[in-house]
Amino acid sequence: MRDRQLRARDMLRGDLEGEDLERYVEERVVMTNFDKMLGWARANSMFPLTFGLACCAIEAPISLVTARYDLARFGAEALRASPRQADMIILSGRVSIKMAPVVRRLYDQMLEPKWAISMGACSSSGGMFSNYAVVQGADKFMPIDLHIPGCPPRPEAVLYGFTKLQRKIMGNPDQGWRQRYNAAGTEEWARGGPRSEPNPEAAEAYEEARGLIRA
């Protein structure tokens, strides 16, 4: 240990040369490219959205952040209450036809990079609710990066799915998937914010809302 410290000090002073320098670099320096490092950082500091749809919300995210399962081990303990601060949305439960536009809007409001997990049978395929009120699979209206089967999945299954998602993020996150759902660049920007180009519709809605508040 002491030996290593001394070598690090010598390295910083520029005293290491030749074979010693080679050995030091081999031991202490990891070569990578920026994309890989970025993916690694993204995968290990995820901000999930505090969001529950139905009974699966008890398994995740509620029990996932408790001490027994502890999502913090995977770097995702900071649940955000606003989609604008979140990276990941877990659809935990059946999506009713009335909730679907709300879910899609939440997803649209999240800033890139963003991921969606469909958790449980209901949000993946409608599950047992094969009826008029429930959307038969959330991937009918938004891009889903990962499906976790189960009714409900055990928290361990969700954690396993989460690590799978991390691997996906570190590997090849964009497979043209979001473009197919028109889900890229859908954020509504507040006026005066960075990259402030609200679409005319959003600007109009915003003005209208402001008018209502003033009145």
């Binding site: 036809i97 009335k98 409608g126 094969s130 009826n131 008029y132 429930v134």
Partner: protein, 171 residues
């Protein structure tokens, strides 16, 4: 609960004030029920609420039902409660399905304000129109929804699940 004879007494008293209003009574599984002419439903409900000695002042539930092969097909159920004696009484109004348009019945919001949302729900799922309701719009389904999904002849919807096992053995 009014017992069987008690129910007949109530029926007799209603008959005195509103002849022909009560079509039938039933006392199935200790639950008293009056089957009422829908045209006089408000008179009967008001009588049960206000007549001395009755006091069914609390509408604990209002819901609709569809007994499809039966005729008349629809029913609106009013579950009344006397909170002093803790007695429950069910009032049913049977509604035929008209050949055109939707079945109609008078709204009881004036008598029981709690009925407002429950009548909207009955309208939402069964398409029963409550005449005189202040705001009869859909309450749970999206506003642009088409159809009355809790009717028995409404398709269930969803998607059939194609299991490989069934496909292989019976397909």
């Amino acid at each position: 609960m009014p017992d069987g004879p008690g129910l007949e007494l109530i029926r007799g008293e209603i008959e005195q004030d509103h002849p022909g209003a009560v079509l039938d009574t039933s006392f199935d599984r200790d639950q008293p029920a009056l089957v009422v002419d829908p045209a006089q439903i408000l008179a009967v409900l008001a009588w049960l609420r206000d007549a001395p000695g009755q006091g069914y002042r609390f509408l604990s539930s209002l819901h609709a039902a569809d007994y499809l092969p039966a005729e008349p097909r629809f029913a609106v159920h009013y579950e009344l409660l006397n909170r002093d004696r803790v007695e429950r009484l069910r009032v049913k109004a049977l509604l035929a399905n008209p050949t055109e348009g939707l079945p109609e019945i008078d709204s009881c919001v004036e008598l029981f304000p709690t009925a407002e949302f429950q009548e909207r729900e009955a309208y939402d799922f069964f398409g029963i129109v409550f005449r005189g309701h202040p705001d009869l719009t859909r309450i749970l389904l999206p506003d642009d929804y088409a159809g009355w999904p809790q009717r028995r002849d409404f398709p269930i919807g969803g998607e059939p699940v194609a299991f490989t096992y069934n496909e292989r053995n019976y397909g």
